[in-house]
């Protein structure tokens, strides 16, 4: 099956997966996507606010039926604490973009600096050869800035981070789940 076939009616979903800090789990999580032929768009792994618990933020284009199955199959892994899927409206989302620009071109064309400011990006380092610009925000604005800068033919390197996200809901599902589990173990 080609990617486009299942993308009909697909949306961009974000999975938030919490796991124990054990080796080899990333493989197990990505394998669930691979097996069902869903491509991972972006992936970020980091420590969470809970000690010893890691947080995976994964985005993928999928249908709701498909992403639901994927989420359940990930949650089924022994060392996965919790997995949930979200649409963009349920999350506060950030990504970062790094743009390495030619200092010579930046100096010769003031429009470049104006563009950087207009997109709310910051210049973090300047030396005679290159200038580093950083921007955090949503995917679209980071890509837009790249296109704008690229039009000036000044971009030496460009990279965009994976997505990081926190939920907009008021419940902290993972902490509550762990508390409930711990209290059960004591019974």
């Amino acid at each position: 099956m080609k990617n486009e076939d299942y993308i009909k009616g697909a949306k961009l979903y974000t999975l938030l997966v919490y796991s124990e800090n054990v080796a080899g789990l990333l493989n197990q999580i990505t394998a669930v996507f691979t097996r069902r032929q869903v491509n991972i768009e972006s992936l970020n792994v980091s420590a969470s606010s809970i000690e010893g618990v890691h947080k995976y933020t994964i985005t993928a284009w999928s249908t709701e039926d498909q992403i639901k199955i994927i989420t359940h199959q990930i949650e089924k892994k022994i060392d996965v604490v919790k997995a949930n899927y979200f649409t963009d409206d349920q999350l506060f989302i950030r990504e970062a973009g790094l743009y390495k620009l030619s200092t010579e071109k930046v100096l010769s064309n003031p429009e470049i600096s104006r563009t950087v400011r207009r997109y709310d990006a910051t210049i973090t380092e300047v030396n005679p050869t290159y200038t580093i610009v950083m921007k955090s925000g949503q995917t679209d604005s980071i890509i837009e800035l790249f296109r704008a800068l690229d039009a000036f033919d000044c971009v030496l390197q460009y990279t965009r981070s994976g997505r990081i996200a926190v939920t907009r809901g008021t419940q902290e599902q993972v902490s509550e789940f762990l508390e409930e589990r711990e209290s059960r173990s004591k019974k």
């Binding site: 796991s19 124990e20 080899g24 039926d65 639901k68 359940h72 199959q73 089924k76 022994i78 060392d79």
Partner: protein, 568 residues
């Protein structure tokens, strides 16, 4: 005072603490320290384990599966690194598909050599993760007690499955202070989800309004040990029940509410009735494609209730109206309490006409033929008639499996070992060996084709050495029969590499010192079976089977279940 022991010895103590009695294994370089420790634990005063030396590591895993299936205990496999453990992968995948609790312990090269392409090194955790419930590398002797208890807890709880322990050589020889460990809780793992009473009420409501309810019974009932709870549920609301291949002994064959086997080669009425029922109650089964046929048309008219312990099975293949995610040992009584006593005689009797059609067109000609060569169906039927009430059926994969599961009779729980999900040829003989150890006082009848018999034929050596009382029925048609049937039906009769030249099985049996008898004539069948069943120990009964017999009925692949054919 705590005593100091090696990791290998710690493994022995940990296995003993888990109640292990039988280990199926094969030694090799990286597991030698453990085999050395095992030596003392298998003889003399200290004896706690029987070690069954198999002839190939794949055999060890299937034997462990057979052992687990009939006993309800965890099957244990001990092998060496590299090829030793890659040979177990088929069995691990098989156990994963069929929810069978086994723990595979494999040697591994020393931690310091990991990643150097050391002799007999393979990334076991990497290759086994996708096909196991849990896979873990033990790098320190101090981890042994913890890892083993966790492995057994994971293998046997919730939806059971295979667990792999990759035991580095240095961890086997390292000396530690022994401290026992008992795992009965993992915070990230919820083996028994809490029963949702609202879901139970909704399910009961659907059942109470149903005019044509149909239950589909799977292996989950056996794994949850809920055979009695199932009967009470079915009997209270008078619900006919079909069984999946792995769920065949979850409900006795002669139970009045049993309406037969589901699936591609199951019974005719129940397949058609799946498309007529108004409420479908799936209990501990996973809507395999072999059961549902085309999902586009499957039971679209019915409200679907799905009882399963594994959340990830819900809505995976068939969309449910009500899901009850829990152990059926708990959900079935909760449901029984809320359903009304009912009588569905009219609905149930609507099965009879179809049953009769199948009996006349398929069953009678298959089990009571009057002329021509022997048929698989009649051999299975004749064995079933003479076998003990609590006999265990083991099958290989292919036509032998389909005929055996169609015509064998089940009166006792945990009576079937077959490779359902993975469809592993070569499963039968080693699984039957395992079954004789898992249920030493029960008769074990193993049906195999000439293809599958040869796929793990080396295990005849294990049978010989252990005098394992496996009653082997070799249904020899000189063909890979199931593929041949499909070639005839769907590939314009082009029999591409399905005809087989076979060895002299009598000479092979003689070589292994196993009693052997061949039946070529129908009139000798009964006596031969009687001889097989009354001979102590193993026996090979070869039956010369018609070359081109087909398994019927059949729902052709990709078609709707109501398109099941009684004849070709």
């Amino acid at each position: 005072m705590k005593d100091k022991i090696t990791g290998a010895k710690a493994l022995m103590r940990a296995l003993k603490a888990e109640g292990v009695k039988t280990i199926f294994g094969y030694p090799g370089g990286s597991i030698m320290p453990t085999y050395d420790a095992l030596f003392d634990y298998t003889r003399g005063e200290k004896k706690c384990f029987d070690h069954i030396l198999v002839r190939h590591e794949q055999g060890a895993t299937h034997a462990a599966e057979g052992y687990a299936r009939v006993s309800g205990e965890v099957g244990v496999v001990l092998v060496t690194s590299g090829p030793g453990v890659t040979n177990t992968l088929t069995g691990i995948a098989d156990a994963m598909m069929d929810s069978t609790p086994i723990v595979v312990i494999a040697g591994q090269v020393p931690t310091s050599a990991l990643g150097t392409d050391f002799f007999q090194e393979v990334d076991l955790v990497g290759v086994s993760q996708p096909i196991s419930k849990w896979s873990y590398q033990i790098r320190h002797a101090a981890d042994v007690a913890w890892a083993v208890s966790r492995a057994f807890y994971i293998a046997r709880t919730g939806r059971p499955g295979p667990v792999v322990l990759d035991f580095t050589k240095n961890a086997q020889t390292e000396v530690i202070e022994w401290e026992q460990s008992k795992c009965n809780f993992i915070r990230s793992y919820v083996p028994y989800p809490t029963l949702d009473n609202d879901a139970v009420r909704q399910a009961a409501d659907l059942i109470n309004h149903a005019k044509r309810p149909l239950a589909l019974v799977g292996q989950g009932v056996e794994l949850g040990n809920a055979q009695e709870e199932l009967k009470e549920f079915l009997e209270k609301a008078d619900i006919p029940a079909g069984r999946t291949m792995l769920g065949l002994s979850a409900l006795p064959s002669n139970h009045p509410l049993n309406v037969g086997m589901l699936g591609m080669h199951g019974n005719y009425a129940v397949n058609l009735k799946e498309q007529e029922c108004d409420v479908l109650i799936a209990i501990g089964m996973r809507f395999s494609d072999r059961v549902t046929g085309s999902l586009k048309t499957y039971a679209k008219q019915a409200k679907i209730i799905h009882l399963d312990i594994d959340h990830s099975e819900i809505d995976k293949n068939v969309k449910t109206d009500v899901a009850v995610v829990a152990n059926c040992k708990e959900s079935l009584p909760a449901l029984t309490a809320l359903i009304d006593k009912a009588n569905h005689e009219d609905w149930r009797s609507s099965f009879y006409e179809l049953d009769e059609k199948e009996r006349q067109k398929v069953i009678e000609p298959a089990i009571h033929p009057t002329n021509g060569p022997l048929l698989m169906g009649e051999v299975v039927n004749a064995v079933a008639n003479q076998a003990d009430d609590d006999a265990i059926l083991v099958t290989d994969v292919g036509q032998n499996q389909l005929f055996a599961t169609r015509y064998f009779k089940f009166h006792h729980q945990r009576s079937i070992c077959t490779s359902g999900g993975l469809g592993t040829m070569g499963y039968g003989m080693p699984a039957a060996i395992g079954a004789t150890f898992g249920a030493p006082h029960r008769q074990v009848c193993c049906f195999m084709g000439d293809g599958g018999f040869q796929m793990n034929i080396q295990e005849l050596g294990t049978i010989m050495e252990q005098k394992a009382p496996v009653k082997m029925i070799l249904l020899n048609n000189h063909y890979l029969g199931n593929v041949r049937q499909w070639q005839d039906m769907f590939w314009m009769r082009r029999k591409s590499f399905t005809k087989m030249m076979n060895p002299c099985y009598e000479a092979i049996a003689q070589g292994y010192g196993i009693p052997y008898h061949v039946v070529t004539d129908r009139k000798d069948l009964e006596t031969a079976i009687s001889k097989m069943l009354t001979t102590e120990g193993p026996f090979i009964l070869e039956c010369a089977i018609k070359e081109d017999d087909d398994v019927l009925p059949m729902t052709p692949p990709g078609m709707s279940v109501e398109q099941m054919k009684l004849e070709i």
